[in-house]
């Protein structure tokens, strides 16, 4: 307990996970002697092509898909852009209405808003206070001209896992294409595209110990998609551009390792996450868990701390070597509080106190001890500076006196 040797604790795995040494090792040859272009018909090209074919198999296996249905992209963001814009544009003769949830990642929300500029209409279905989408709300929002529904598999800010299979039953019944952003879940929890019943799914390598700069989009065979990048016929003609071979190899290796170690990883990460979810609110008064308690991503311990602001907590934690993130307005470059927390109905004051600890496979019990010990004094210090806290203590003390 209180291991004094700890100086650095990385608890921002929702932002990006570290690259596993095995993954780096698999990638290295493709930065070096295996530099060929997969489109070329000589030995160099063959080696690169075989490598991306193998990676395609690995990713397909991770999500229960057929390899030819997998497209490699440059990121989860690109996958979502390609899905939202590409699937909607491919069906615009049928209709121009798309549906998303209010808590999607900006790569989905802003893509949908771009579609609005292109003449589509957008409906954002709400979430409840735990961040859960009601499949019946999706049903009600579907119209005759609806061509696409997009709801994320899980929200990485608050950890809530959405009822995708139930929503898919609605979209299938209505005959509407359904995309899910699985960037937070693929490689972390079991994801099977047939079981989920979706038509399209995006994932990203840096969320499960693979490299940055590479993602994938799965689109069910037979579903039409308009490419965003025109050029050569890479990725079945749906994503032009010379492939990021080392990145793709790394994504494949990370997918293979994720599938193999998923159960033990979930167990480890959930244990540490549960410690944070239980021990922090026990040590810090008025620190509340956000998101759903059961339908929750492994590793996600998200909170709002009353009377203080997230960026200052983040900075104090960073000064003790602890890396976290916050959804407060002050933390965002746009100075807007997290749209996810606001959509869940949290008042601005509370959303300002957002703090997210995201646990990864490399974290340890000793690190959690260190964080749980560091947090109370940091919160206390900031509360001593906070005019909101002094108002609170004045009124609550006054109330106590009145009661006595």
């Amino acid at each position: 307990m209180g291991d004094s040797t700890i100086t650095k604790v990385y608890l921002d795995n929702a932002a990006t996970t570290p690259l596993l040494p095995e993954v780096l090792e698999a990638m290295l040859p493709y930065f070096g002697e295996a530099f060929g272009n997969p489109s070329c018909l000589h030995d160099w090209g063959d080696r690169a092509r075989e490598a991306i074919d193998a990676a395609r198999d690995q990713v397909a296996q991770l999500i229960g898909a057929a390899p030819e249905e997998i497209m490699f992209t440059g990121s989860g963001t690109e996958s979502n852009n390609l899905a939202i814009k590409g699937l909607a544009l491919a069906q615009q003769n049928k209709g121009k209405h798309v549906v998303t949830s209010a808590i999607e990642h900006f790569s989905v929300l802003h893509s949908a808003r771009t579609l609005e500029k292109w003449g589509f209409e957008l409906t954002e279905v709400p979430v409840d206070r735990y961040g859960v989408v009601d499949p019946e709300d999706v049903r009600r929002s579907i119209r005759k001209d609806t061509v696409l529904v997009s709801v994320m598999h899980a929200n990485s800010e608050v950890g809530t896992i959405e009822p995708i299979a139930e929503i898919a039953r609605v979209t299938r019944e209505k005959g509407v294409v359904f995309h899910t952003d699985a960037v937070a879940t693929a490689g972390t929890i079991p994801v099977d595209v047939r079981e989920l019943g979706v038509d399209s799914l995006s994932l990203a390598g840096n969320q499960f110990y693979g490299p940055k700069g590479v993602g994938a989009l799965w689109v069910r065979k037979g579903v039409r998609l308009i490419p965003l990048l025109d050029g050569g016929v890479q990725e079945g003609g749906r994503r032009a551009g010379t492939e990021n071979v080392p990145g793709i190899v790394g994504l494949g290796k990370a997918a293979e390792l994720a599938a193999r170690h998923m159960v033990t990883r979930i167990e480890h990460v959930n244990h540490l996450r549960d410690r944070l979810l239980i021990e922090l609110p026990a040590r810090v008064e008025r620190m509340v868990v956000t998101g759903h308690t059961e339908h929750r991503l492994p590793g996600n311990a998200s909170f709002c701390v009353e009377f203080i602001e997230g960026e200052s907590v983040l900075m104090m934690l960073n000064s003790r070597g602890i890396a976290v993130t916050s959804g407060s307005a002050c933390t965002s470059k746009a100075l807007k509080a997290s749209h996810v927390l606001l959509a869940m109905g949290l008042p601005h004051e509370l959303a300002q106190g957002s703090i997210l600890f995201s646990v990864g496979i490399a974290n340890t019990d000793e690190e959690i001890d260190y964080v749980v010990d560091a947090m109370p004094s940091i919160v206390d210090r900031l509360r001593q500076m906070s005019p909101l806290y002094s108002k609170f203590t004045r009124t609550s003390k006054g109330g106590k006196h009145a009661g006595l």
Partner: protein, 129 residues
């Protein structure tokens, strides 16, 4: 981490003059929780000078550093001198602020001005100090 100057980091980690003044001569509040930062300044005035300045701030690192810097700059100044402290001067003293923080977090000077005006208003009305 936002890109903050050494001075900002110093004032954030070791803020000066945090607290409240009992029976202050003036109080000034600025900001709102939607934009994220709220600050309250308390002043004690003697012989037209700011004998004491304290603050409480809810907000980001920049907001806390700004409040601390304003309190330090204002202490001991005459009211006229203190009223000349502007957000721009505060930012300069702090070695600059990130562009997106300049407006929403840099409210310390306004809060201090409000506290001084509160004092002047009370003095005019009651003349009890």
């Amino acid at each position: 981490m936002p890109v903050y100057s050494q001075q900002v980091m110093d004032h954030f980690m070791n803020p000066r003059n945090v607290g409240e003044i009992e029976n202050p001569d003036g109080i000034g509040e600025e900001g709102n929780p939607v934009c994220g930062d709220m600050m309250t300044f308390y002043i004690k005035v003697k012989d037209n000078r700011l004998e004491d300045v304290k603050f409480k701030t809810f907000g980001c690192g920049a907001a806390i550093a700004v409040s601390s810097m304003v309190s330090e700059m204002a202490k001991g100044k005459t009211l006229e001198e203190a009223l000349k402290i502007t957000p721009k001067i505060v930012a300069e003293e702090l070695g600059g602020l990130p562009k997106n923080k300049f407006h929403c977090s840099n409210l310390g000077a306004q809060a201090l001005t409000r506290a001084i005006k509160d004092y002047l208003g009370k003095k005019k009305a009651g003349g009890d100090k």
